[in-house]
């Protein structure tokens, strides 16, 4: 079950190898293996959409065995940022892949015509995908009955720089989306429409039996102590938190609050919820299915709505009701677009149009125009073709000051938390290894959101003191946790992860486990520096230095510099953000 499947799409050659024990010891799985293989196997400066880039799919050492770990990571050099990129999805694909005997798939080269990869245990073939070309993601899933499927939509085939990869959109169970970084476009560039997997014999069965007692205990912990605190599921509760902390993006981050948030929050969604779906071996069932209430797109159903989609495709585009968000979610999932980047690009276009920088009638709150624009992005038509390159590239082309409100870091559009109300999130975005990402260090939950929970300001969200340490520690522990790959929503602690690893024969203490995370984060930084990124890429977007129109909040550049310097020092990186020999030696990175 720790085999790596290698597929060369140019030659059609398919081989398997065992994951080297030394590599697993130092990098565990998931994110760690993405960092390891990207750094060691990609030629420097390779074209992200060329055959030399590799598409990696990994799960972790607990996948298929322990509850809360049935997630996969897709990795590649990102066409959106040119950086290391890893993006995660839940559902049933990862567990099926592991049960089929694989901890990873490494795809390189490029096929001449569209293909899909069919895995039936040890029997692996490349199949003609002509009948799948141009199809939306759920149609691809439906066309491959009996398999768990990773698929791209038309956006991936059209090389939209933030095309995503979708798993399980049409079959029983929770769908998953590896949304960020444009890894769907990497699949598209290789003419790989889908990966379909099923197992013939369960390769995890013996180990799963061996650890059955702990598995039951973990399940009990989740059912009794975690799920009851999760609300209706997933991260929809964040709408209330962001609103109360005044960091919910509104109209391309011009404001951080809308009184209409009560129409978009968990309570509003619960009223129109029609079901929920779970990942393999998970009692949380956080894939919320709902029907749009009265209003625009009334009665439209959607599945697996998440906070980021509500924020970036909803309030950030000027919407004050659920219907347009439901429709936006469906379109993005079917066409294969990241909802965060797409929402940001649409909001950027709305602001450009309102400022007269582009000749278009789209405006904040214009739902039908937004849906048309999403389709144009996926098909690369008209304004959609410009926006398909990402907000950074689009702003450069438009010029006339558009870069002042293109909200991205390293070319990746940032998600739904305004860092002007949470300074640590500014550093978290600035130093995230894959560009403008909140997941590397979701520090707002240890800062502004805690004040919401406690009902008073116990943590100063504007003070830089201690924030560099917070961000570094979260990045390191998350890098280790995502090597397993744990579900973010379940909140497994480092200690708990170590306990579960011990059961499958990986013996580490908590400090050693986090050290692996630090090794992974440094390797990703080495990769990014090798690709030419520098200190200037580690800053929040220009918009956040401007005073917000509702609160007057802004990030002070000098404060940010101080925090960034402290962060580099804690990491033992030089002034430009290059890992020093000292830290590389300490982490045993060769």
């Amino acid at each position: 079950m720790n085999k790596i499947l290698r597929v060369n799409l140019t030659s059609g050659k398919i081989t398997t190898e065992e994951l080297p024990a030394e590599v697993q010891k130092n990098y565990l799985g998931g994110k760690g293996l993405v960092a390891y293989y990207l750094y060691h196997e990609l030629p420097p400066q390779c074209d992200p959409l060329g055959p030399e880039n590799k598409l990696l799919v990994f799960c972790g050492p607990l996948t298929g065995i322990m509850p809360g770990h049935d997630r996969y990571v897709i990795g590649a050099k990102s066409p959106l940022t040119g950086t290391f990129s890893d993006s995660y999805g839940g559902g049933w694909f990862a567990a099926t892949m592991r049960k089929a005997g694989y901890i990873g798939i490494i795809v390189d080269g490029s096929a001449e015509k569209p293909v899909y990869l069919k895995i039936e245990g040890a029997n692996v073939t490349l199949e003609d995908a002509k009948h799948l070309s141009g199809k939306e993601t759920s149609a691809v899933d439906q066309a491959l009955p009996g398999y768990r499927v990773l698929a791209i939509g038309p956006a991936g085939e059209n090389l939209v720089k933030y095309a995503c990869v979708v798993s399980n959109p049409a079959k029983n169970g929770r769908p998953g989306v590896a949304g960020r970084g444009g890894l769907g476009a990497v699949m598209g560039s290789k003419k790989l429409k889908a990966i379909a997997v099923k197992y013939t014999e369960d390769a995890t069965a013996a180990l799963a039996k061996e650890v059955d007692d702990l598995k039951k205990e973990v399940m009990r912990h989740l059912r009794e102590e975690v799920v009851p605190g999760m609300g209706i599921g997933g991260n929809l509760g964040a709408v209330d938190y962001s609103s109360k902390a005044k960091v919910l993006p509104v109209n391309n981050f011009q404001r951080g609050f809308t009184p209409a948030y009560t129409k978009l929050n968990e309570a509003a969604i619960e009223k129109v919820m029609t079901g929920n779906h779970s990942c393999h071996l998970c009692p949380a069932a956080c894939g919320v299915e709902l029907k749009a209430p009265a209003g625009l797109f009334s009665g439209t159903m959607t599945d697996r709505l998440e906070y980021e989609t509500v924020a970036m495709g909803g309030s950030n585009c000027g919407h004050e009701e659920l219907g347009p968000i439901v429709e936006f979610n469906n379109l993005c999932n079917e066409l294969g677009l990241d909802t965060i980047s797409t929402g940001s690009c649409v909001a950027f276009a709305m602001e450009c149009a309102e400022k007269g920088l582009i000749d278009d009638q789209i405006r904040f709150g214009a739902a039908q125009a937004q849906m048309e624009l999403v389709k144009m992005i996926a098909s690369r038509k008209g304004l959609g073709d410009l926006l398909a390159e990402g907000v950074s590239a689009a702003a450069k082309k438009i010029g006339a000051g558009a870069e002042e409100f293109a909200v991205h870091v390293k070319g990746m559009e940032i998600p739904g938390y305004d860092p002007r109300g949470s300074i640590s999130m500014g550093l978290s975005y600035g130093t995230a290894d894959r560009g403008g990402c909140h997941m590397r260090a979701w520090s707002i939950a240890s800062e502004a959101f805690l004040n919401v929970d406690l009902g008073e300001e116990k943590v100063n969200p504007f003070s830089t003191e201690g924030k560099a340490q917070l961000v570094k520690d979260l990045q390191d522990s998350n890098a280790a946790l995502w090597s397993l790959i744990v579900c973010d929503n379940l909140g497994f602690s480092v200690d708990y992860a170590v306990k579960m690893l011990d059961a499958v024969g990986i013996k580490l203490d908590a400090a050693e486990f986090v050290k692996i995370g630090e090794r992974i984060y440094n390797l990703a930084q080495l990769y990014n520096r090798r690709e030419g990124l520098t200190r200037k890429d580690d800053y929040p977007p220009l918009r956040f230095y401007q005073a917000r129109e509702d609160t007057g909040w802004s990030i002070n550049k000098e404060d940010y510099e101080t925090m960034l310097n402290e962060y580099y020092q804690l990491r033992q990186w030089d002034h430009e953000g290059n890992p020093t020999d000292n830290i590389l030696k300490e982490l045993n990175i060769k």
């Binding site: 102590e225 975690v226 964040a238 909140h438 201690g466 979260l474 973010d488 929503n489 602690s493 170590v498």
Partner: protein, 92 residues
């Protein structure tokens, strides 16, 4: 053994049995690490914290801030400190 006094603030989902989300604890100065604090809270029936901040095997479930600043599990508290106990999740 000298005792020190610290204030505990519980953030959801953690709750004390008394429903008081903020209370004072006196602990021996020599046992003032955050791990030891969590262990003590689990053993102290008068606090009756739910869900568990540490499981039976000694694995910490909770995260901590001391005086509004992020604190690792091996950090120590001092007399007069304000400790926030919360559950960290990875992303939203």
């Amino acid at each position: 053994m000298p005792l020190i006094s610290i204030t505990i603030n519980l953030a959801p989902p953690f709750k004390a049995g008394s429903e008081a989300q903020s209370f004072t604890m006196k602990i021996p100065e020599a046992e003032a690490g955050l791990r030891q604090l969590a262990e003590r809270m689990m053993k102290d029936r008068s606090i009756s914290i739910q869900p568990a901040v540490m499981d039976e095997s000694g694995a910490l479930i909770a995260s901590f801030l001391i005086n509004g600043k992020h604190a690792g599990p091996n950090q120590s508290v001092q007399h007069g400190d304000n400790v926030i106990i919360y559950k960290r999740i990875g992303g939203g």
